[in-house]
């Protein structure tokens, strides 16, 4: 397994700022990472968007933003942010699918990062 610092930096996260949030506790960070893939907000977001329930979509995206922000996963965070703001105002609805795809894409990248951290095993 490569070092957490190296992997995160290669991925594009601010390692120092993130680990400060976790009181320098890498094990806690990894534990949270485990939980991250159990989090259902991405699925909720996807479902809400399909059903055009933009309120639910906003709530899911909003929560996801908080979690991802806390975890310092900058590329994914930026992708989520790009959707949260239009959702809050329920505008630019035609762009939602594109924005969502970008989130999914970044989500996959994070999955790869996670595998890398866990020694190559898929989640």
């Amino acid at each position: 397994m490569s070092g957490l610092k190296e992997c995160l930096e290669v991925y594009g996260a601010d390692y120092t700022a993130t680990m400060e949030r976790f009181m320098g506790n890498e094990a806690l960070y990894l534990k949270i990472f485990d939980l991250f893939f159990q989090d259902e907000n991405l699925q909720k977001l996807s479902k809400a968007l399909q059903e055009a329930d933009f309120t639910a979509a906003f709530e899911a995206a909003h929560t996801l933003k908080g979690v991802v922000g806390n975890m310092g996963l900058t590329p994914l965070y930026e992708a989520v942010c790009a959707l949260v703001e239009p959702l809050r105002l329920k505008e630019r609805q035609d762009e939602y699918p594109v924005l969502y795809q970008e989130i999914e894409k970044q989500y996959e990248t994070v999955k790869k990062l996670y595998c890398q951290l866990k020694g190559g095993k898929p989640a």
């Binding site: 949030r21 806690l28 929560t63 933003k65 908080g66």
Partner: protein, 862 residues
């Protein structure tokens, strides 16, 4: 370890929850809830134990705003601070959170240091606020605390200028007693009851506070004319609540007129009013009025004026003479301070001294008195008056002054006086506060040579321990103590016990505040050493005292030259009216009382007894020739026979009869007054008889001649008898010595009588230097001397003293050709045997000494 403070995290997202736990769990105990609903049930369980809530806004089931609204509306939770966690994506969430009652917010992504700081500071803020809240109310009674009462009362008074208010305070007089007897819980119950009474009494017309321990205060709209009834009822209510049925309460009222006065001061004044009736039975309340106000103003004026008074020499010392009880000679004085204010006149020390003690000025004033007293002593020394001592006060505050010894020493040095001339009066009460310090300080002063007097002994908490530990020279008995004490029968008194104690501890005793003859008689009887009081003299300005010193000082000096034998000057002359006619006696008493102390006798026996008792204190006798049992002429005969001892002028009275008059004068009467006569003429006759017959000094001189050995100045045999007659019970036990100069005859023969006489004079001087002035020294025969030492019960001590004298004699003539030694015998005399017997015993012992131990001393052993 203290229990950790609890923080509740309300957050639907598990990841966020875990992160927050990670941040907070090292400092706090963290409780978690997934949504608002769950959070409320956690809150209900822990209530105010929870120090802080961290709340997410966007949550399912019950969102953050709803939760916040519920929490803030419930008084049980409303004081728990809530920090809202928001996304860092716009002000709207934050504003909404704050407007819903959140204390603060933190943004995601979390910054742990910021979260920890905000959490800590908000918890701290809330706890401080809670404490303030707690302090606002008295925990026991629920009334306002003192400070908070002040604030609320002030607000109210200022908010309603149209209303008139009173401040009422109360004080439970014997609350400590109630606590002691019935216990603290009963005391607390009583206080809560009193708080309820206040609340009911005041209603919505004012506010109440607990002022201090058992003192309460209320601000009340003026509704009533205050009457005893109101307060009696209140007291009854209180007494019905308490197991103690004798709670005594005093109420004080201050009518709020000047609203610029602080509430603190208003309460103080109301309490002052309450305190002013303390101990007054049947008085329930008092209003703060002009009298009280004036008293306070006056105290203020005294305080304002004291410094300048000292600078302008408005203070002056007065001296109250102190007499030696044995011979009524002037023994010294106590210096007291007087304040002669240019506008107010003479101020009573009873008023300003307690005030100065309170504000600390007493230290300066004491130093002033010390200085003035020493200055007076020096000026008397320069005028050649006898070196008396002056007592000055040393206040409690002085004792705590580290420089006191320095100051006192500098003062006496400044006037070139030995420290022993200044007697320091320490009050008994000073001992109670800091015993160690006072003992140390006083010990040091005594080592420096000051004479230490314990002032006011017997008035406070006299502690035998204190007597034991304090380095003392003199006990001063408080006048109050003496006034009470002399009213009791002799045997019941503890005065005698104190005297015994003082004797045992080698302390002199001064009785202060002696005001009546009876007191003096009592004090004399029990053997008190010195007296002071109005009966003799009031405190007087230095000038007057100096005049007294001048007059009495001459006598003192004469006494000094002839040492041991001093006779008392009459204090108040007595006049004996021996007459069978009660009406006549009463008339004489009425007319002459005041000038003389008139004593009456209805028959000869009573008259003789009186003469025997009073002896030289009698100024004169008015003797009826028609007296019975025995008759007047027999009385004259007795008086004539005893003339050498008594020498009392006699004015004989009887019907106008030339023969009778002649016979009376022949038999030794000094004058004859035929009856009836005017009392004015009788007074003249008495004065003439007293004046012509004998002034005290002449009496003394005459006595001296008759009673003294011309060569040595010691008593002769006759003087010895006289002195022994005057011995008192408390002088016992006595040691009686018979000394004999071993080689006087030889010296006389070899060197002539001049040398022999010198030896006698030398030995007389030696005896004086080895004994006290009060002991009896007599030249008994040619080369024999009798010495009676008072209060010497220990045989060993007596023997040692005799040995010391003999050795001194031996050593003094060491170089002479014929050693002039003295031998001695001593016997202890318990006054049961007659003197002759005891002298015989001493003689036996002397004989033994001469045969076995020439030049030494032997003790007679029965």
């Amino acid at each position: 370890m203290i229990a950790q403070k609890k923080i509740l995290i309300v957050e639907d997202n598990e990841i966020n929850r875990i992160m927050l736990c990670g941040i907070l769990s090292s400092d706090y105990q963290v409780l978690q809830a997934e949504n608002g609903q769950e959070a409320l049930s956690v809150l209900n369980r822990y209530k105010e134990e929870i120090s802080l809530i961290l709340l997410d806004i966007v949550m399912p089931v019950m969102d953050g705003y709803t939760f916040l609204s519920i929490v803030k509306a419930d008084p049980a939770f409303s004081s728990i601070p809530v920090i809202v966690t928001t996304q860092n994506d716009g002000e709207s969430d934050e504003v909404a959170a704050l407007s819903h009652g959140a204390a603060d917010f933190v943004a995601k992504p979390y910054k742990p240091q910021i979260i920890l700081h905000r959490v800590a500071s908000i918890i701290n803020l809330r706890e401080t606020a809670a404490m303030i809240n707690l302090v606002q109310y008295d925990r026991l009674t629920g009334l306002y605390s003192k400070e908070f009462f002040y604030r609320r009362a002030k607000e109210r008074i200022l908010a309603h200028p149209e209303r008139s208010y009173d401040i009422i305070c109360s004080d439970i007089e014997n609350f400590k007693l109630i606590n002691d007897i019935f216990g603290m819980p009963a005391g607390d119950r009583l206080l809560r009851g009193l708080a309820d009474l206040y609340t009911t009494m005041v209603g919505d017309k004012g506010i109440c506070g607990r002022y201090n321990a058992d003192q309460f205060a209320c601000l009340l709209e003026h509704r009533w004319t205050y009457t005893d009834d109101l307060f009696i009822k209140a007291t009854q209510t209180i007494n019905s609540l308490s197991s103690a049925k004798n709670v005594v309460m005093k109420w004080g009222i201050y009518a709020v007129e000047d609203r610029s006065v602080s509430v603190e001061q208003m309460c103080d004044r109301a309490l002052l009013a309450a305190r002013s009736i303390k101990g007054r039975y049947g008085t329930y309340f008092a209003a703060y009025d002009d009298t009280l106000r004036n008293k306070l103003l006056r105290e203020q004026a005294i305080t304002n004026g004291m410094e300048s008074a000292l600078a302008q020499e408005q203070f002056e010392i007065y001296l109250q003479p102190k007499y030696c009880i044995k011979d009524d000679s002037l023994a010294g004085a106590e210096a007291l301070v007087r304040w002669n204010h240019p506008e107010w006149g003479m101020q009573s020390p009873a008023e300003f001294i307690p005030l100065f003690e309170k504000n600390g000025f007493i230290t300066k004033l004491d130093q002033f008195v010390w200085d003035r007293a020493c200055a007076a002593l020096q000026s008397w020394d320069e005028k050649g008056y006898p070196a008396i001592s002056v007592s000055v006060n040393v206040s409690r505050a002085d004792i705590y002054n580290a420089d006191i010894a320095d100051i006192l020493i500098k003062t006496v040095r400044k006037y070139r006086l030995p420290p022993s001339r200044l007697h320091l009066e320490i009050t008994e009460s000073a001992y109670t506060e800091n015993p160690k310090q006072i003992i140390d300080t006083v010990g040091r002063l005594r080592e420096l040579g000051f004479v230490i007097e314990m002032d006011d002994f017997g008035s406070g908490y006299s502690s035998l321990n204190m007597l034991n530990q304090m380095p003392l020279d003199v006990l001063k008995l408080d006048m109050k103590f003496i006034q009470v004490e002399t009213a009791k029968p002799v045997n019941q008194g503890i005065l005698r016990f104190i005297m015994g104690l003082a004797r045992w501890m080698n302390l002199s005793v001064v009785a202060e505040g002696v005001e009546t003859r009876e007191q003096l008689v009592r004090l004399r009887e029990i053997g008190c050493d010195y007296v002071q009081g109005y009966y003799f003299a009031k405190p007087m300005p230095c000038g007057e005292f100096e005049a007294l010193l001048n007059e009495r000082g001459v006598a003192l000096k004469e006494e000094k030259t002839d040492s041991a034998w001093t006779m008392g000057k009459r204090v108040t002359k007595m006049l004996l009216v021996a007459d069978e006619d009660a009406e006549y006696r009463a008339q004489v008493r009425k007319r002459l009382d005041g000038r003389y102390q008139v004593v009456e006798a209805a028959d000869g026996d009573t008259a003789l007894a009186c003469m025997a008792n009073c002896e030289y204190k009698l100024a004169a006798v008015i003797l009826s020739m028609t007296l019975k049992n025995p008759d007047g002429f027999s009385m004259l005969e007795v008086l004539q026979r005893e003339k050498t001892v008594w020498n009392i002028p006699v004015i004989a009275t009887g019907p106008w009869d030339g023969q009778l008059e002649e016979r009376a004068l022949q038999m030794g009467a000094d004058d004859f007054a035929g009856k009836p006569h005017s009392l004015q003429s009788l007074l003249k006759r008495v004065q003439r008889a007293v004046g012509v017959n004998s002034s005290w000094e002449r009496e003394c001189a005459l006595r001296d001649e008759a009673y003294r050995d011309y060569l040595t100045g010691l008593l002769n045999r006759r003087g010895l008898d006289y002195a022994v007659e005057a011995l008192r019970k408390e002088d016992a036990p006595l040691a009686v010595y018979l000394f004999d100069l071993d080689n006087l005859k030889q010296i006389n023969d070899q060197y002539g009588h001049v040398e022999g006489d010198q030896l006698l004079v030398q030995f007389g001087g030696l005896l004086r230097s080895y004994t006290r002035a009060t002991d009896i020294l007599a030249r008994f025969g040619g080369d024999e001397f009798v010495v009676i030492i008072k209060q010497m019960g220990m045989q060993e001590t007596a023997l040692k003293k005799g040995g010391d004298i003999c050795r001194a004699m031996r050593e003094s003539s060491f170089a002479k050709a014929i050693p002039a030694t003295a031998s001695a015998g001593v016997a202890i005399w318990n006054t049961e045997d007659c003197l002759d017997t005891v002298i015989e015993r001493a003689d036996e012992a002397l004989y033994q000494a001469k045969t076995e131990n020439k030049g030494g001393c032997r003790l007679w052993k029965g």
